[in-house]
Symmetry: C2
Subunit: 245 residues, 2 copies
């Protein structure tokens, strides 16, 4: 049995920093990987949707606008759920506090499960994905993004210059899965490093069928608008996976 999840989003310093990110202020349009993730989504019309780690509820509101019948937004952070509830009075969106390390969902209750940049915090990912598999109807879809394993692997995640001045992403410990402590927005945030193979094999072992993988990096158009993003093509920051139950 895992301990309760780390609740970093209710840390005042972390929350203040997170609230200022483009993806918090502008919502989905402020997340550079959103166009890629959006292109992977099923048609939302009439679907029953669950969002694992819904944060401020941007995706829950998007899903409803795109025609979803019902949306359940789950998050551990009271602060984030508070903001999400303030942002909409749509009765077809329900926000609920939930610990993804100890989740309970009814069987065959959802057509679509979504999770954006949350699952790399979850220690018992197999346990969670078992619950999600059972909670989906046959043919239902799971789509999630996580920090890319190349990004999470290093003991000291950073760029290093070689003697020619070329910037490179310094990879070590790729095959050593487990916790990584980083100082993103607050000191000592714990993420779980897993390999790409582990994500895919976990899905296969649980009976999911992978449908598409995306290792996200900025498009040419995005680089034209944000030249400083081009280095993200040197090592992808996000891994996006679509799978069917």
């Amino acid at each position: 049995m895992s301990p309760p999840a780390q609740n970093i989003y209710d840390d005042d310093i972390f929350f203040a920093g997170y609230s200022k990110l483009a993806r918090s202020v502008e919502g989905l349009a402020g997340a550079p990987e959103w166009p890629t993730l959006r292109a992977m989504l099923p048609a939302m019309e009439g679907l029953s949707v669950v969002d694992l780690g819904c944060g401020f509820g941007w995706f829950c509101r998007f899903a409803r606008e795109a025609g979803a019948a019902r949306v359940l937004g789950l998050d551990l952070s009271e602060k984030m759920l508070g903001r999400a509830r303030e942002a909409s009075s749509d009765a077809a969106i329900v926000y609920r506090r939930a610990d993804l390390e100890h989740l309970d969902l009814p069987p065959a209750a959802f057509d679509f499960a979504y999770s954006s940049l949350v699952l790399h915090y979850v220690v018992d990912l197999k346990g969670l994905l078992e619950i999600v598999h059972r909670a989906l109807v046959p043919g239902g879809r799971l789509i999630f993004s996580v920090e890319h394993p190349i990004y999470t692997a290093p003991s000291r995640p950073d760029w290093l210059k070689d003697d020619s001045g070329r910037k490179t992403w310094a990879v070590d410990r790729y095959l050593d899965e487990g916790p990584r402590s980083t100082n993103w927005l607050a000191p000592g945030v714990i993420k779980q490093h897993r390999t790409v193979a582990t994500y895919v094999n976990l899905l296969l072992e649980l009976g999911f069928t992978p449908r598409r993988l995306e290792e996200w990096g900025p498009s040419d158009a995005q680089i034209a608008a944000h030249p400083e993003w081009s280095i993200e093509r040197d090592r992808p920051p996000f891994l996006l996976i679509s799978a069917a139950r």
Copy 2:
């Protein structure tokens, strides 16, 4: 239409170097990833097998010893085929010269297609995998290994020391797929860098169902026997994929 494949294995310097590698002298037992690959194989009894890039024929002979009914070993290198033919007089193994850039195989003729560390040389991988898909019976298996995309990505594949003396694999250009020129055994060997997502998505688009991914690194037992291998856990050298037609 791709040009004919690079035939680096018939280069005298490359061939001399390759012939001295443990995997050339000792065969499968000299390939550190073999135990992992072997564990992914289907039962060979009675199967019709094709080996894409059979080299000295070690796997073809293994397949026959494991009960395969027929084995077709394909390679571009006359030198390697010559050695393969010398090593066995088994009439159920046929060795044939073939360019994997322009392969022709009969439909539904094989139960199992295998390829070890060859497909990262192939420019038209989609074209080749289409032929392989058609050449397999429904339910047939494809299992292959390639150099891992983290290994093939860098413009200058090497380890870099950070200021604490930690050795890291210097990754750049991960998302920029295409040729990489390296000096492995001979100068200017051209490999095709592809991302993990591209390998998986190509299979999905062609109608294969992925069954398992392995990002190979040495086991604890292998490291105990070969302590110098431990750094391979910092970035996996090989990607192994099993898929069903």
